[in-house]
């Protein structure tokens, strides 16, 4: 499903929220985690954040907490889990390497290739389920009292999260070609965006 981007935070968050009866909450948490995940480039053997399982756990956590405190707690929890989940992906990749080495030693057959490939897929699913399920269980109990303490209203809460996402936006412009190459279209976009924002 990852190939179709169903596992992106903005989608997995909305789907989890919908399953829990809180689609708007799910989408909002997913959208914030997406803002913090946009700059990740899954090239080569880089360690990836497990954003999908982190988002599922974050939304399940948020659904059990009072708003607006639920938003920052869930977003941070989701990012921490996604980061930690990345280590799980790496462990699995090393395990897969050992399995393929074993296949080469034992003699390569179509059956062994098929079993090795499907077993890796099943283990990856299990890994994601453990991170998402474990993260949701821990989050729902551990942060129950924490979200109550959050003193800001919803608008201020979103402003705080967006403030930190601004760093990611800067990195993204660099990934798109950098300031010198893109400054004209970027600044033109800002003018258009401010105009749209004032109209909405």
């Amino acid at each position: 499903m990852g190939q179709f981007m169903v596992s992106r935070p903005i989608i997995s968050g909305a789907l989890t929220g919908w399953l829990l009866g809180q689609p708007l909450m799910g989408f909002t948490v997913g959208a914030f985690i997406e803002l913090f995940s946009l700059v990740a480039l899954p090239s080569g053997g880089t360690r990836l954040a497990a954003s999908a399982s982190g988002t599922v756990a974050a939304v399940a956590t948020a659904a059990a907490l009072p708003v607006p405190g639920a938003y920052p707690v869930a977003v941070v929890w989701g990012l921490v889990l996604a980061h930690a989940g990345g280590y799980g992906v790496e462990v699995l990749r090393r395990w897969n390497a050992r399995r393929w080495a074993a296949v080469e030693e034992q003699g390569i057959t179509a059956h062994r290739v098929t079993v090795t490939h499907w077993r890796a897929i099943a283990l990856d699913g299990l890994r994601a389920a453990v991170v998402a399920g474990g993260g949701a269980l821990i989050g729902r109990f551990a942060f129950r009292g924490v979200a109550d303490l959050w003193p800001l209203d919803e608008a201020a809460t979103f402003s705080v999260l967006l403030l930190f996402a601004a760093v990611d936006m800067g990195v993204l412009l660099k990934n798109f070609g950098g300031w010198h190459r893109r400054r004209v279209v970027f600044l033109f976009g800002i003018v258009v965006g401010v105009s749209i924002g004032m109209l909405v």
Binding site: Q3, M5, V6, I10, I11, A14, P23, L24, T28, E34, L35, L38, V39, L41, S43, G45, P72, V76, L79, V80, R94, N96, T109, V113, T116, H117, A120, I121, V146, L149, W150, P151, A155, V160, L161, L163, F164, A166, V167, D168, M169, G170, V171, L172, K174, N175, F176, G177, W179, V185, F186, L187, F188, G189, I190, V191, V192, S195, G197, V200
Partner: protein
């Protein structure tokens, strides 16, 4: 027959990264993907052909169809295994880096930004999600299909076609659209903050500082930004006790 075999392999290519590992990269997945085609082409000798394909290989998953189509064509034409091995070794670098630049660094963030922008201006989450999935997967599946056709028609000469199409230049163009979408998104957020009076200006200045930090430091800024976010959430939460 050739097109049918390649289409079957292309469906399997959706799972090609399932056993990604540091030894073969997606080489194991590539061998698994080729099993039905190799059985049809080589019959009883298929096991040896499958074993040949368990070797290091890499490609962006959306462009792997180029290699799949070309390899199936070469296998069907009876090209010697060493030539096929050399072909795979030659294309794995370009298919990986071109795909990363085109899809992961340009198309995907641009479409996600457009989805976030639609949400920021009040778009209904359901339609934002559906719109993103439809738009993205139209490009994604189109790219896979195009790659397969190129591989099948060009065979081992795919490099010539890739030069003509110049995917790197296209990635650059899409990056320009992405920068524009990023600007619009940032502009919408700034316009929203201006309604908050003095705090709005303070927020805009702080956000501009964060943006500049990210722009200058690049991905090196991410770790410190995440730690700062966690710290800020903890401090604000604790301040609720006071």
């Amino acid at each position: 027959m050739l097109a049918g075999l390649a289409r079957g392999a292309l469906v399997r290519s959706l799972l090609i990264q399932g056993s990604w590992n540091f030894r073969l990269l997606i080489g194991g997945g590539f061998a698994w993907m080729m099993i039905p085609a190799l059985r049809r082409i080589h019959g009883e000798d298929a096991e040896a052909a499958i074993a040949r394909h368990v070797e290091p290989f890499n490609s962006h998953p959306y462009l792997v169809g180029i290699a799949v189509g070309a390899v199936i064509r070469m296998e069907e034409e009876g090209v010697d295994p060493e030539t096929i091995r050399r072909f795979k070794a030659a294309v794995r670098g370009p298919l990986g880096s071109l795909g990363d630049r085109l899809v992961w660094a340009a198309i995907r963030p641009t479409l996600l930004l457009l989805a976030l922008l639609a949400w920021a201006v009040g778009g209904p989450p359901l339609w934002v999600s559906i719109g993103f999935l439809v738009a993205y997967n139209a490009v994604h599946l189109g790219l896979r299909w195009w790659g397969l056709q190129v591989g099948l028609s060009e065979g081992p000469r795919v490099a010539r076609r890739l030069q003509e199409v110049d995917l790197a230049r296209r990635a650059g163009r899409i990056g320009g659209h992405g920068a524009m979408a990023l600007g619009v998104f940032c502009g919408v957020l700034v316009a929203g903050s201006l309604g908050m009076g003095l705090w709005g200006w303070v927020w805009t200045a702080a956000a501009a500082g964060g943006f500049g930090f990210g722009l200058i430091r690049g991905s090196l800024s991410i770790r410190s930004a995440r730690l700062a976010l966690v710290g800020a959430v903890v401090i604000i939460t604790i301040s609720g006790l006071v």
